[in-house]
């Protein structure tokens, strides 16, 4: 559990990588080429970032022909929310609401 929070936090700490994750959340499934067009870095850099995000459970990939479609996995943020909710009970209600949403996505 703590290990997952570690990998998730490290993945999201990088601005470029977080921007990719935000784009996938905001605009939905996209190919590597589409993401490279926005990222401002080279295609290998984007592929590497996507590999890190995938290892952290934040994105999924779907190969179709010669292109790979990536999409954000909403459940990937759960370890982060679990960790944050452990830190303090102050925001407990908000976290519970988010977790509720994530649980409904499970189905």
């Amino acid at each position: 559990m703590q290990h997952m929070a570690d990998t998730v936090l490290k993945s999201l700490a990088d601005p470029t990588r977080r921007a990719i994750f935000e784009s996938l959340n905001r605009d939905g499934e996209q190919t590597v080429w589409m993401l490279t067009d926005q990222a401002g870095v080279s295609q290998p850099a984007v592929s590497k970032h996507l590999g890190v995000l995938k290892s952290a459970g934040l994105v999924r990939d779907r190969r179709e022909g010669r292109q790979t479609h990536y999409s954000a996995d909403p459940k990937g943020l759960k370890p982060l929310l679990d960790w944050a909710s452990q830190m303090t009970g102050f925001w407990q209600k908000k976290f519970d609401a988010l977790e509720d949403l994530l649980n409904r996505m499970d189905q």
Copy 2:
């Protein structure tokens, strides 16, 4: 707002620094010496970590004589929560849109 999420995420990405923050949340206010005793790194390293956490708004300090007491600031996690809820909010909107579409198809 995004800048705050960036500094908070970068602060919490380091394991040693996150452990210090967790200890402050779990056990409450502590001096630098107490934190150094647990951290497994030198006192200057701990002071540096505390400085980073303070800059990110995650901890507060209170000087008393020759020792400095640090405590976790629960509001410091708010930028992280806001960012996460924005990410999940995108999914909420997609579900709402899907539900809308399904409803319109019913007719």
